[in-house]
C-alpha cells in the first residue's frame, strides 16, 4: 500500500487525517505514531517478517543510542553505525538474486540512513528529552519520507515533531495538499508514463538495436527517473506538511547539471546532505584534511551510486564517476564552467548522455548489455520501429505529459513567490487559478492514469531497492 495505491489515497489518508484532526492538540504526536505504525502494518501485512526488520532496527537504534551516550567514543559509534549496513547489503543481495519467498522491506535504506543520523546526532550531544523511545520510533517509522526522502536529520526531526511545533492549520494543510498533488502527478501522470514507455522500448531493443529507439529510450529514462524520484519526494513533503511537519522542501532541477557528480548531487540532494554531514565531513576531520578531495569524490561519485544499486557491475561504474568527481573538485571545474556558457551546454549534454547510460545500466542489469546493444545499433527499418512506437504510445498523451511535467516543475517556484508582496489581488487570482488547474490535473490523474498503473500499488521502483 504505497502512496499511489487507491487504498492509501481513498481510505488510509482520509481516515488518518480525520483521526489527526479529531484527536486535537496535545495528542498529535501519539496520533502520528499510531498512524505510522498502522501504515507499516498495512504495508507489510502479507510479509510480516519485513515488519520485524523495522522493529529490530528501532530496538537496535535505541540500544545503540544508550551505548553511545554512555561510552561516547567515535570508533564505537562508527562500529555501531556500520552494522545495519551489513544487514542492508545482505538484504539487497537477496533481493538482486530474487530469492524465492524474500521480499525486500520497502523503505529499509532510508531507515538505515536514519539510524546513522540518530547515532551521530546522539554522539554530537543534545538534551535527554530527544532520546525517548517514542521520538526514535516516530523518526524511524515516519512513512512519508521512507521512499525517496527528503532525508531529515534526527535532531531536526525531533524538534519539528515536538507537540507544540506540530502546526495543523488550513494554510499548512493546503500547502501540503498542493505538494502531494504535484508529487502524485509527477509520479503517475509523468514518471509512470515515461518509465512504462521506456520499459517497452527496452524490450523491443533486446530484439532490434535501432538508433532512434535507443536515443528515445535514453531521453525517457533520464526524465522518467527524475519525475519518479521527485514525485515521491514531493508526496512525502506534502504528507508531512498535511500532518503539520514543515520539512525543508527544495525543488531540484538536475537538468542544469554540467557534470555527472553535480547531476547526482542535485537529483538526490537530501542524500547528498546526509553524506556530507555524516560521512565526508567526519572522514575529512579524521584525516585532518589530507586527501579531502579524494574522500569527497569517493563519497559523491561512489557512495551515491552504490546507494542506488549495490550490484557488482556498479563498482565498475564507480571508478570513472570517482575519477570525474575528483578532477572536478580538484580543479574547480564547476566554478570554471559557470563562466563559460557554451562549454557548459556541451558538458551538460554529455552529462545527460552519461546519466541516461548509467540509468540504462541499472535498469538493464549491466554495462556489458548496454555496450553490446550500442555496438549493434543501426538505422535498418528505423521508420518501422518509430511507427510501431507511435502506434503504442499516443503523441497527444505525451503532449499532455509534457505539459503536466512543465507545470509541475514551474509550480514550486510560483508557490515560493507567494511570499512577495504587491499586486495582492492579481497574485491571489493567479494562485487560485493555479490551484484549480492543479486540482483538475490531479483529478484526471486519479481517474485516468492511476487505474492503469496497478504495479505501483506495491512496488515503488521497478529497478531500485530503497
Amino acid at each position: 500500500m504505497l502512496f499511489t495505491a487507491p487504498a492509501f489515497l481513498f481510505l488510509f489518508l482520509p481516515l488518518s487525517l480525520l483521526l489527526y484532526t479529531v484527536l486535537g492538540k496535545g495528542r498529535r504526536r501519539v496520533c502520528l505514531l499510531i498512524i505510522c505504525f498502522a501504515y507499516h502494518l498495512l504495508l507489510n501485512m502479507f510479509h510480516l517478517y519485513t515488519l520485524s526488520a523495522l522493529a529490530v532496527l528501532i530496538l537496535y537504534a535505541y540500544l545503540g543510542g544508550i551505548l553511545i551516550r554512555r561510552i561516547r567514543h567515535p570508533a564505537v559509534t562508527a562500529a555501531i553505525c556500520l552494522l545495519p549496513y551489513v544487514a542492508l547489503i545482505g538484504m539487497r543481495m537477496l533481493a538482486y538474486r530474487e530469492v524465492e519467498g524474500f521480499v525486500y522491506p520497502i523503505g529499509l535504506t532510508i531507515a538505515t540512513l536514519a539510524t546513522t543520523s540518530y547515532f551521530l546526532d546522539t554522539l554530537r550531544g543534545g538534551s535527554t528529552s530527544r532520546h525517548r523511545l517514542s521520538d526514535l520510533c516516530l523518526y524511524l517509522s515516519f512513512f512519508p519520507v521512507m521512499l525517496a526522502g527528503p532525508f531529515v536529520k534526527y535532531s531536526e526531526f525531533s524538534e519539528l515533531t515536538q507537540e507544540d511545533r506540530l502546526s495543523f492549520g488550513v494554510v499548512d494543510f493546503a500547502d501540503g495538499a498542493r505538494l502531494f498533488m504535484m508529487g502524485l502527478i509527477k509520479r503517475i501522470a509523468v514518471g509512470a508514463v515515461l518509465m512504462e514507455t521506456y520499459n517497452t522500448l527496452v524490450l523491443s531493443l533486446a530484439q532490434n538495436a535501432d538508433v532512434l529507439v535507443t536515443v528515445l529510450a535514453m531521453v525517457l529514462v533520464y526524465f522518467g527517473v527524475y519525475f519518479v524520484i521527485t514525485g515521491y519526494s514531493d508526496m512525502g513533503c506534502g504528507l508531512a506538511r498535511m500532518f503539520g511537519i514543515r520539512l525543508r522542501y527544495i525543488p531540484t532541477h538536475p537538468f542544469r547539471a554540467s557534470l555527472p557528480d553535480e547531476y547526482g548531487r542535485t537529483l538526490l540532494y537530501s542524500f547528498y546532505e546526509w553524506l556530507d554531514d555524516y560521512v565526508i565531513q567526519p572522514a575529512v576531520r579524521v584525516t585532518q584534511g589530507r586527501g579531502a578531495y579524494l574522500i569527497r569524490s569517493v563519497g559523491y561519485g561512489g557512495i551515491l551510486l552504490l546507494f542506488i544499486r549495490s550490484n557488482w557491475y556498479v563498482f565498475f561504474m564507480v571508478i570513472p564517476c570517482v575519477a570525474i568527481s575528483y578532477l572536478s573538485l580538484r580543479f574547480g571545474w564547476e566554478k570554471w564552467l559557470q563562466r563559460r556558457y557554451g562549454l557548459r551546454v556541451l558538458t551538460g549534454f554529455l552529462t545527460l548522455v552519461l546519466a541516461a547510460l548509467g540509468w540504462m545500466c541499472v535498469t538493464v542489469g549491466g554495462m556489458d548489455e548496454v555496450l553490446r546493444h550500442l555496438s549493434k545499433m543501426s538505422y535498418f527499418n528505423s521508420e518501422y520501429y518509430l511507427d510501431k512506437l507511435l502506434v503504442s504510445f499516443s503523441v497527444v498523451e505525451y503532449f499532455f505529459v509534457f505539459f503536466a511535467a512543465t507545470v509541475m516543475c514551474i509550480a514550486p517556484f510560483l508557490l515560493r513567490k507567494r511570499a512577495s508582496r504587491g499586486h495582492e489581488k492579481k497574485r491571489l487570482a493567479l494562485e487560485a487559478a493555479g490551484s484549480l488547474l492543479l486540482l483538475l490535473v490531479f483529478s484526471f490523474t486519479l481517474l485516468f492514469f492511476l487505474p492503469q498503473y496497478g504495479i505501483y500499488d506495491t512496488v515503488p521502483f521497478r529497478y531500485v531497492f530503497i
Binding site: 500500500m1 495505491a5 487507491p6 487504498a7 492509501f8 489515497l9 481513498f10 481510505l11 488510509f12 489518508l13 482520509p14 487525517l17 502494518l41 498495512l42 501485512m45 502479507f46 488550513v170 494554510v171 494543510f173 493546503a174 500547502d175 495538499a177 498542493r178 498533488m181 517497452t200 527499418n381 521508420e383 518501422y384 518509430l386 511507427d387 510501431k388 507511435l390 502506434v391 503504442s392 504510445f393 499516443s394 503523441v395 497527444v396 498523451e397 499532455f400 507567494r418 495582492e424 489581488k425 491571489l428 494562485e431 487560485a432 490551484s435 486540482l439 490531479f442 483529478s443 486519479l446 481517474l447 485516468f448 492511476l450 487505474p451 492503469q452 496497478g454 500499488d457
Partner: protein
C-alpha cells in the same frame, strides 16, 4: 478570513472532496460486499485496490479518454486511424506484420517470388488442361486500400510491399491468372469498401470484387455471353452497428461503431443452399431461374468472405461451390467438376502461396 486563508480553505475542501467522493463511489459500488470476505487489513486494502481498478465505470472512462482525447488504446497490435478507422498492426494467427509490410520492411526474395510464380502458373496450366479457368484474386489489406485513413505519422505506402512486389514480378512474367484488387478497392471518397473496425470487405467491397472478377472472366471468354447482376438490381443500405473484431479486441466495440454496408433485404435471392458439408457449401439457382451454366468453385480463407460473395455469385451462376479453405493445388476443381476455379486470398495471407 484573508485571501490566503480563503484560498487555502477552498483548496483543502476540494482536495478532500475529490478523495472522499471517490471513496464513497467505491464504497457504494461493491467494495463493501468484497470486504465481508476479508480476514485482515491487508486483504481489505487489496480488495479496495482491486475494486478501484476493476470498476466498470472507471475502465470505461479510461478507455473513452484514451481513445477520444489521446487517440490511443492499450493494444500495440491496433492502429488508431482517422475518422474512427481501426487497423490491425499484426495478425495473431499467422504473425503477419501489417505495418512492416506497409513500410516495405519485409520484401520477398527473388527465390520466394519465383516459387510463388511457379505455383500460380502450375495451377493455371493444370486448369487449362481441364479446359477450366483459374484466377487467384488478392483482396488488399484495409491499410492498403484506405491508406488515407491511417494516422499521419505512418506516411505513404512503400513501393516494396509484398503485394506490389509480387504483382510487378508476375506482370513481368506475363502471368494472367493473378488479380490484384488494390486499385479497385482503393476509394478516396466516403464510400469505403471495407469495414472501419475490421480488416474485411463490406457489401460494396464484395460487389467490387464480383464486378472485377466477372469483367476478367468476360474478357477471357469473349465467345461466351456472361450473365451478370446489374448495378440497378443491387440495393445497399448503410447502418451503424457495434464495432467488429478489431474494435472488440481493443475493448472499443461500443465506442467505435462500425459503418456496416449490407445488401438490402428487398434484393431477391434467386438461389438456395443445396448442400452443406464440413469442407464446402454448394448453392444452386432455384427452378426457373437462369444463370451462367459454368460450375464455379470459389475457395475462401474466411467465412466472412464467403458470406459477402455468396449473394453475388450464387445469383449469377447456376451452381457455385464455396470451399472453406484455400487448397494447395486444384484438387477442389477436380472434386466438384468445376469449370472455373477462383482462389480468394488476402494480402496478409500471401505466405500461404509459399507453403
Amino acid at each position: 478570513m484573508n485571501g490566503n486563508k480563503a484560498l487555502a480553505f477552498l483548496t483543502v475542501v476540494l482536495f478532500i472532496g475529490i478523495l472522499l467522493s471517490i471513496t464513497l463511489y467505491l464504497g457504494l459500488s461493491g467494495f463493501s460486499e468484497r470486504t465481508s470476505a476479508a480476514h485482515d487489513g491487508g486483504q481489505i486494502t487489496l480488495f479496495f485496490n482491486e475494486t478501484f481498478r476493476e470498476d466498470g465505470a472507471i475502465q470505461t472512462f479510461v478507455r473513452y479518454c484514451d481513445y477520444k482525447l489521446f487517440h490511443h488504446i492499450d493494444r500495440d497490435s491496433i492502429i488508431i486511424g482517422r475518422s474512427d478507422w481501426l487497423f490491425d498492426a499484426t495478425r495473431e494467427d499467422n504473425g503477419y506484420d501489417y505495418l512492416l509490410d506497409y513500410v516495405g520492411g519485409c520484401p520477398y526474395s527473388e527465390e520466394q517470388l519465383t516459387r510463388i510464380a511457379n505455383r500460380i502458373s502450375m495451377r493455371r496450366e493444370a486448369c487449362a488442361e481441364r479446359d477450366a479457368e483459374y484466377l487467384l484474386v488478392v483482396i488488399p489489406n484495409s491499410m492498403t486500400a484506405v491508406s488515407h485513413r491511417l494516422p499521419s505519422y505512418v506516411g505513404k505506402q512503400s513501393e516494396s510491399t509484398r503485394l506490389g512486389q509480387l504483382g510487378r514480378y508476375l506482370k513481368g512474367r506475363g502471368e494472367t491468372s493473378f488479380l490484384d484488387l488494390s486499385d479497385v478497392m482503393s476509394v478516396d471518397g466516403e464510400e469505403a469498401l471495407y469495414n472501419n473496425t475490421e480488416d474485411s470487405i463490406n457489401a460494396y467491397g464484395a460487389y467490387s470484387f464480383y464486378h472485377t472478377v466477372m469483367s476478367e472472366l468476360s474478357a477471357r471468354s469473349r465467345d461466351v455471353e456472361w450473365n451478370r447482376l446489374s448495378a440497378d438490381s443491387i440495393q445497399f443500405f448503410t447502418h451503424y452497428t457495434d464495432g467488429k473484431s478489431t474494435a472488440r479486441r481493443a475493448g472499443l466495440e461500443r465506442l467505435v461503431p462500425n459503418r456496416t454496408v449490407s445488401l438490402s433485404e428487398t434484393m431477391a435471392d434467386l438461389y438456395r443452399i443445396s448442400e452443406v458439408t464440413e469442407q464446402c457449401v454448394t448453392t444452386a439457382m432455384t427452378a426457373g431461374e437462369q444463370g451462367n451454366k459454368e460450375r464455379i468453385v470459389i475457395e475462401c480463407s474466411t467465412e466472412w468472405d464467403k458470406i459477402q460473395l455468396m449473394p453475388f455469385f450464387s445469383n449469377t451462376f447456376e451452381t457455385v461451390v464455396y470451399e472453406n479453405d484455400i487448397n494447395d493445388g486444384i484438387s477442389s476443381l477436380d472434386y466438384h467438376h468445376g469449370t472455373i476455379l477462383i482462389q480468394v486470398i488476402h494480402e496478409s495471407e500471401l505466405d500461404l502461396l509459399l507453403k
